[in-house]
């Protein structure tokens, strides 16, 4: 493929993803300056590796993986050492309470601050997987590719993230129902 065609196609693919890439980089690094650096480096790396991208696979997942690896090798990531791993066992014993009352399911979801706080207090690994799923709307298979983990682990992390949120928001309701 002639280089110019390739780069035109690359541009077409990346341009609409800039807001997503930037936002995710910002979330990872918590800094506008570094987010821009990370996205810039991601673009360079992705362009160089574009030949290895196989059409038919998901470009967004592919470039998000590059973005994430770029971040993980950055100073901030190493300094913050946010790469601690949770134990990712699928909790098969997690059959929920067999007789929860309807009130157990009612969460106060209109409290923006409480919700934000609950999300902020999630372990970064759980928050990340939730962002990829809910905000970036990636499928589990694609998230598995971005994070380089098995799909079963994606599933249990998302589930764990939501259970944690549920518990936290339910506690905040207290007995007000």
């Amino acid at each position: 493929m002639p280089a110019s065609n390739g780069s035109a196609r690359f541009e077409q693919l990346v341009l609409p993803l800039l807001p997503s890439l930037y936002s995710h980089a910002f979330w990872l690094s918590r800094s506008h300056e570094e987010a821009e650096d990370v996205v810039q480096e991601t673009i360079s790396k992705a362009l160089r590796a574009f030949d290895s991208f196989q059409s038919g696979t998901n470009f967004k997942a592919w470039i998000f993986r590059i973005l994430r690896n770029t971040f993980l090798t950055s100073r901030t990531a190493i300094a913050a050492s946010r790469t601690v791993f949770l134990e990712d066992q699928v909790d098969l014993l997690d059959v929920s309470d067999p007789s929860p009352t309807p009130e157990d399911h009612l969460l106060r979801l209109d409290n923006h601050a409480a919700l934000t706080e609950a999300l902020e207090s999630l372990h970064p690994q759980l928050r990340e997987v939730l962002l990829l799923c809910e905000v970036e709307e990636l499928k589990y298979k694609e998230i598995a590719m971005v994070l380089d983990i098995p799909i079963g682990t994606v599933m249990s992390r998302i589930s764990r993230a939501r259970r944690t949120l549920h518990e936290q928001l339910r506690q905040q309701v207290g007995g007000s129902l």
Partner: protein
Amino acid sequence: MIQESQHLRSDQVSAYIDGELSSNEAQDLRQHLATCHSCALRIVSAMQLKAATTRVSERVVVPPEALSRLTAQLRPEAPKRPARVYPIRSWAWGALAASLIVVVSLIGWRETRQSNSLSAELLDQHLAVLSSGSSPEVVSSDRHTVKPWFQGKLPFSFNLPNALPAGTTLDGGDLTFVHGRPAALLLFTIGKHRASVFLTQRSANESAPVSLETQSGFTIHYAYTHDLRMIAVSDVNPADLDLLMTALVEAQSPR
């Protein structure tokens, strides 16, 4: 495979609402939901949570200067121009499912029990809407806003009345599922009372059994047109609810 006696695991609930189960797995799961009120509520609750967290997790907007620099990096030959790109999430049907308040009905296999358990489930949903305090997806009293919002999101269409009965206002609308079928949920205020009206397609062989029931002080009012089934749930007095339903039914007939 989900055993009848076994409740859903959290990861199954999550995978289901994310549309990640195979059609067989989803089928098994729905079979369990049909007989398990508690798991059906967990699904509803999980969907509400997902909708809420998605809403709160707004993307950080790229500062315009950064965006022009990045765009310039991408196309060195193109002239720089002011940035304009703001993230707009595409609300495809799958993603939309996330923002739904979902009603998974608990229709028993026995037909005689059908309308009762449906009413019970809709009542639960009406109460959930009232107690969650979250606003509907489309918040408007203007039928010219509310009606188009549903278009393309539902496999049927409906009309809203030109004028509502005195003292009745439209608060907004939402998408929902009733008995596994996509439904429009319209929210009204009648005087000091709230009313939820669920609209679904009427199935071909569906009879129109009861028109009115009461459960725990709430009136559940069924109305049918040629194509639609409408079910209202409210604690307002039945006569006022009837006025609203009559207006809704009349709005459907071509004139």
